[in-house]
Symmetry: C2
Subunit: 360 residues, 2 copies
């Protein structure tokens, strides 16, 4: 039996990156440089927040769509990955309690010929509509020498930076979490924009599936399934923030439920229930013979966003999910844990860093 | 005689991009989406500005370093291009009258092994120091399949997004320009971060020069000259804004002095003086047999930043430049011109779009 690990598929996580740690040490020194508008939270949360005075915080965050773009490129289908770009950024900004307002995009292309840029814009605009943000600027760079040349001449990269506002006394980074607070999870729309390197390797390289292969379990082709746009949780999160005592929000991207650890409190989480994973994950796990700890670290496994609220707010959180048409589940609760241990009890795995391991 | 044009070197300008125009049309529709914080200026200025209420505007802009990164990659020298990244973004944000506060970066790498990330951070931090901004977050993506594989395994891209603040009644987009207002230019530090595709083609491919070739005119190697960090004009611009009746600011990037056209007024500019171009430009022009209109469209030609002020403020503008240790020149003046014609009279060229042509 061979096992594809995420690392073997060419993507390593943060704790395997000493260079990354040194970079952060250098950049931490910049916090003291500004005349004003200094950052008020550390590295490692979903977005940065600047205190510009008068109680106003500017939240902003940058992220790219990653290798999901290679699926779009292979299919020459460009009108949805802009939604992913907005999702990756706006979902992060809302996680610190901010209202996303606007995004700029950076598009690197091999060539500006054809409809690629205009189609990317269609997706960006649809994402902006869903997140209720504007896209008032951006940069398009034609840098064919920097991109891996594609057979169709349409290699590209797509990155966004989302800006929002949050009252400085309303920044949400989990500071008020208490053991016993409850984790409610909300359904993902699919694989979202993480783990595509591993998914492409398993489905396409190892199993030899074409993106055009019809997969009965998906009710559509592999390419259509992998390109399903990431869900945008901005409306959901703003409604939760407006109505509940939100202790923490978590955008479940790479590192899966370990994203719950991105909180400013000595708490961990015991996950007592996980919903049945959608077919894209079960097929992927079977074909790639991937262990559960790998799957739950790399993928959202069907849960794209979480909120942590006091027990008294759980029913209302589920109801707000329902109002948004989102399946929602009570997943578990916060525990006293200085090392921020996340245990996924149904799977017998736990993690206190960017990895899961079997529970002792 | 062969002529290398910028287009032939693989980079086309905006008016050759119908797809780009269609993309902007689609994205313009997003201006109406936000609940609040709508953009208050159109596409085409140096940064976007959101009105978040209370007279506060958030200015932000995104840009990459482009193919200057290929020079860094070829030399495995990564500790200065971060300065370029800050320069490209902070210089843009200050051009709308805003005070840059902070930047996030996006780094796409072929591999996270080695010192590359940490060295990139050193440049970013030095740029942040010069611009007096923080870098409180960013994204590092290991996407080897998306980047043009480099011999040394160190292919990468580097992009930033800078955020600043500006009182909404102090936004500078040239609205109050009058014929007779004076253009003062400030010295560039070198080629900055534009036109490297053409420069690499002429110096390296056509002339066959190695980056390690010592060039007497530069007093250093070709690689050292091309990697000279872009100048950061934030302190200069903030001092001009604080002390003068600044009508417009222009960051001279691609399109050269045609950047002066990015103003909200029916004025053009007659440039009556240009300083002697630094050796990097004269050598490049000679080796590539490039026409002056091409050179002045693609390159800063020694003038990296301009301010437009009333005649009464010219002496003080020159003095502020001197206080910053920057050579400065009176270049010309604004003219009545609904089509925003920029004429560079010493060269007999003019432009009303992204191109120069001979004056009639």
């Amino acid at each position: 039996m061979t096992t594809s690990t995420y690392a073997a598929a060419g993507v390593r996580s943060a704790d395997e990156m000493p260079s990354f740690g040194r970079a952060l040490d250098v950049l931490r020194g910049t916090f003291a440089f500004p005349r004003r508008g200094r950052p008020i939270i550390e590295f490692g949360y979903y977005a940065s927040v600047l205190d510009i005075g008068g109680g106003v915080g500017i939240a902003f965050s940058t992220d790219g769509v990653g290798t999901k773009l290679l699926v779009a490129q292979e299919l020459s289908k460009y009108d949805t990955v802009g939604i992913d770009c907005v999702a990756m950024n706006a979902n992060d900004v809302v996680c610190v309690g901010a209202e996303p307002l606007s995004m700029v995009d950076y598009i690197a292309v091999e060539s500006v010929r054809g409809n690629q840029l205009a189609e990317l814009a269609v997706g960006l605009a649809e994402g902006a509509r869903q997140a209720r943000i504007s896209i008032p600027g951006g940069e398009t760079a034609q840098v064919p020498e920097m991109l891996h040349s594609a057979a169709n001449g349409e290699a590209f990269d797509l990155v966004g930076t989302c800006v929002g506002v949050v009252p400085t006394d309303k920044v949400v980074i989990g500071t008020h979490l208490m053991p016993g607070d409850v984790v409610v999870g909300f359904a993902a729309s699919g694989i979202h924009s993480n783990g595509l390197t591993l998914a492409r390797r398993v489905f396409q390289t190892e199993a030899g599936w074409s993106l055009n292969k019809y997969v009965p379990e998906f009710g559509r082709t592999l390419g259509e399934e992998l390109l399903e746009p990431s869900r945008i949780y901005v409306d959901l999160a703003l409604s939760l923030l407006a109505n509940l005592d939100v202790k923490a929000l978590a955008h479940i991207t790479s590192d899966g439920l370990l994203n719950l650890r991105r909180v400013n409190a000595g708490v961990g989480f015991d996950i007592e229930y996980v919903p049945p994973p959608p077919p894209v994950f079960t097929l992927l796990q079977g074909l790639g013979r991937l262990p559960a700890d790998e799957m739950y670290r790399v993928y959202n496994m069907g849960v794209g966003f979480c909120v942590v609220v006091p027990p008294t707010d759980v029913d209302r959180a589920l109801q707000i999910g329902a109002e948004q048409g989102l399946e929602a589940w009570v997943l578990g609760h916060a525990t006293r844990s200085p090392e921020k241990r996340v245990r996924v009890l149904p799977l017998g795995i736990e993690g206190t860093s960017a990895h899961f391991a079997p529970c002792p």
